[in-house]
């Protein structure tokens, strides 16, 4: 099964890339776009026969150990 993990900077942390993207989009005429923040998506495969609990436990552990720095980032498993 394909797993998608969305990692983003916590809300209170300055995300300067999003600000620049916003300026660029605004200057292209997308003036309704605001509060843009850029994150990252990590995709990976896990075996299909793995239980729901084990899946959650493994993803959680991988995020805590390497994929996410919880001082500045938060994550969400999509779908």
């Amino acid at each position: 099964m394909r797993i998608k993990i969305l990692v983003r900077l916590k809300g209170q942390i300055l995300e300067p890339q999003g600000k620049v993207i916003e300026q660029s989009l605004n200057s292209l005429g997308f003036t309704e776009f605001s509060n843009i923040r850029q994150g990252k998506l990590i995709e990976l495969d896990l075996p299909d026969n793995i239980s729901k609990e084990e899946k959650e436990q493994k993803i959680d552990s991988a995020c805590k150990k390497l994929l996410v720095n919880d001082i500045i980032e938060e994550y969400e498993v999509l779908g």
Binding site: P16, L67, I72
Partner: protein, 226 residues
């Protein structure tokens, strides 16, 4: 007894040679260069985690390097109350290991900063002993993620425990900004609670020799040796 030291090299480190010369020239003692896949570390007084782009800065700066095989030994070295200095990418690695508080995020103005900067000491520790209060040091920076961040609670802890070693300040050039990268309280370097581990964004190993623009980086090693 002569001062012994070591520099760890990761794939993508690019200041390891500078750090080795810095240690060799200033300590006059034994200096080891250790590859990140090693599982043992000689008993030395100081270990440097050098600057660069370890593992291409993939995922987050310092994230992969913080999981290298040698890191268990580096942590033991620090727990033994011996000195550990992380410079630039080394500072990022130390925060990723968890030996230092906070994190280094993108510079506020999104620019890679490669220039001289000015710092002064905030609280006294063994790394900055020979630097006078209010003495301004000129030391180069070269980083994209040097913007120090921590939450308010951690910041209060850093202050109460006097863990802030260096802060950016205005230098002799009128156009230099006080806080070059947007760091909280212009923090340029912090120590752990025991003050034997220092992480700093500026590069003292690029400011010690006669052919460098400044020799202010010498003070760090001189402080440790004294």
């Amino acid at each position: 007894m002569s001062f012994k030291s070591a520099v760890i090299t990761f794939p993508g480190s690019n200041c390891d040679r500078d750090a080795l010369c810095y240690l060799k020239d200033l300590t006059k003692g034994e200096v080891h260069n250790i590859w990140h896949e090693e599982t043992s570390l000689p008993k030395v007084d100081l270990v440097i985690l050098p600057g660069g782009f370890s593992f291409g800065d993939y995922l987050r700066s310092g994230a992969m390097a913080s999981k290298s095989k040698i890191i268990d030994e580096v942590v033991k070295h620090a727990n033994d109350n011996r000195y550990l200095l992380g410079i630039c990418n080394g500072f990022q690695i130390l925060t990723e290991i968890g030996l230092l508080e906070g994190a280094l995020i993108r510079n506020k103005k999104l620019k890679f900063l490669g220039k001289n900067c000015f710092i002064k000491k905030k609280f006294k520790n063994n790394f900055n002993l020979s630097i006078k209060d209010n003495q301004i040091l000129q030391i180069p920076v070269a980083h994209n993620e040097g913007n120090f961040y921590c939450d308010t609670e951690t910041l209060n802890l850093l202050k109460n425990n006097e863990q802030i070693a260096f802060e950016y300040c205005k230098g002799e050039f009128s156009n230099t900004e006080e806080n070059i990268n947007g760091s909280i309280e212009a923090i340029a370097g912090i120590t752990n609670k025991k003050k034997n581990v220092l992480g700093m964004m500026p590069h003292p190993e690029r400011a010690y020799s006669d052919f460098h623009q400044s020799q202010d980086g010498r003070f760090i090693i001189e402080s440790l040796i004294s």
